[in-house]
Amino acid sequence: MTQREALQQQAEQRQQVLDAFSHHLLVCAGLGCLHNDEIIKALRKEIAAQGLEQQILVRKAGCMGLCALGPLVLVLPDAVYYQTVTPQDAGEIVAALGKEPVQRLLLPADLPFFSKQQKKVLALSGRIDPENIDDYLAAGGYASAVNAITAMSPPEILRIVGESGLRGRGGAGYPTGLKWATVAQAAGERKYLICNADEGDPGAFMDRSVLESTPHAVLEGMLIAAYAVGAHTGFIYVRAEYPLAVKRLQLAIREAERNRLLGQGVCGTSFDFTVQLRLGAGAFVCGEETALIESIEGRRGTPRPKPPYPAENGLWGSPTLINNVETYANIPLIIARGAAWFAAQGTEQSKGTKVFALTGRIKHAGLVEVPMGMTLREIVFEIGGGIPDGHAFKAVQTGGPSGGCIPAEHLDAPISYESLSALGSIMGSGGMIVMDDTSNMVDIVKYFMEFCMEESCGKCVPCRVGTAQIHSLLQKFCDRQASADDLAALETLCDLVKTTSLCGLGQSAPNPVLSTLKYFRQEYLDRMADPSGPHQEGQL
């Protein structure tokens, strides 16, 4: 039996086991659903007490998205979601199986939060046990990698990824196919692969959720990438602040190795690929690719000037492919369904779907996946359910400390790399924080500037000194001590820091200030020492 057949058999066996149960109770075991272990225990106890162990299977699952109403439990095959479940609900939930669902806990079946999303990367999130490789295999997992490595040539894969139009999900949106082709063509005996799981944006948890829910999908994407570019060693650089993601990744790597999907001779071929974890240590700048490379090499995470780009000169001087978690998680789907399938969704220049962490002053906070081109209004008001407690929408912040605030008048803008940057923000990695009429924009901007100031690595002067100066100017506005000169100085400094900093941290640090000066200027003017000063007219 070939390795391929063995895996297939393993998948079928698991499916048979799963099919033998009349009902499955999937319990979200992500970070966002508190006390899920107690719920699982209570459900199992109830089922055992009723002697239903052969009929009902309780499974640990990944994130189902609607974290605001968690802990969530999904009943299959009925596809019924229960919200804010407690261990005390176990009896009622089990008793209702095959009958009318428990109304008290039921989430409406037609909730736009679910019906308006298009889950591709998240399709298996919340549907399989992240700690069981057989679950992923049974759902068709690793079929793309096995197919790629045993039946496709690297140039063929490069062509498909290029044609799909996939762009990096880590923030900058660089075309993935182009980056892969550069690494594949780069001269060098040894090549490395890195998965950027640093997720430094404070208000974003897409990558955490993908790693916790479908760690094997990320490994599979990396495996395909490694084969396509000719790398044999891969690193996942993951934040130490995500212990559950780290634990599940460690387990997933071990299970993949045991099934000969990683290691020497992957799938019985002569292709070798090993993956190691590297823990971050709480430095935002280490999400920047060259700083991340410095950190893997065991040093302080200070960025290097580019060029040379990592694709040519990266880890230990070798050509290095570095992509984001979500970028890799898209790859198995593209290989399975083809470039045209992927490119059929999205806008002209931004293809596919994007995962967002929708949080802040919003009813249905959680993790969502939508096609590129959907409007911000649809995301905030339909999927997100709007603003709670009768407050009014004020702005949505995308891109974290590197992004900007988008006001109500642009809610109909479609989300894409181009349109968000045209609005003075960025797509970023997927953080989307909603603010309402109680939010003070100058305070939020000061918060982001303090973040950049503290996280500046200090290598270059414009960023090290400039962020501190901008921060003290913003403090003056918060204290209502600012003058018209301060406002002018703020604008000059922002421009200077943006244009002269070495890396993306400094270059984009002024974005939150600039976008609020553009859309919420009155809030700055209202905080000047003499709000009736000469600068007010003509600048609104």
Binding site: L34, C67, A68, E241, A281, G282, L358, R361, G431, F448
Partner: protein
Amino acid sequence: MPTPPSDLHLQDKRWETIDRVMRRHDFRQDALIETLHAAQDAFGYLDADTLRHIAARLKTPPSKVYGVVTFYNHFKTKPKGEHTLVVCTGTACHVKGNDRVLAWMEEHYQLKPGDTTTDNRISLLEVRCVGACALAPVVIADGSIIAKKSLAESTAMIREWLNDAA
């Protein structure tokens, strides 16, 4: 020349785990951050003896080891108190009022982030986003998450926890 670390310190069983990490990386200098993680996991913080020993084992100048330790927020050179209160300062938690939780801690307990009470019982820490943004505002008391609470609710729970802990 670095002074050799005290023997007493090295006899600690926990060094075996740390040595294992260094050995796994063939004592290469790029094992530094991984080794520091292992050492902090084992001892709770990184003291001067520990850093000197790691520097010697990895043949890395102590100045470089110190430079790395101070660069990364995660590494602590001071011991933590017996109990820790971690306040998430991510954007969603900020928008939902965790800045006021920190102000409250300072006002009522004279603790700023990074501080430990003089009796060494309680440390206040801040963390740059734990990634549970949909549960904002998030405060973690000895590992258990207090989430989605108003300022009055969170502070009442913190007060209760502090009374139990102290």
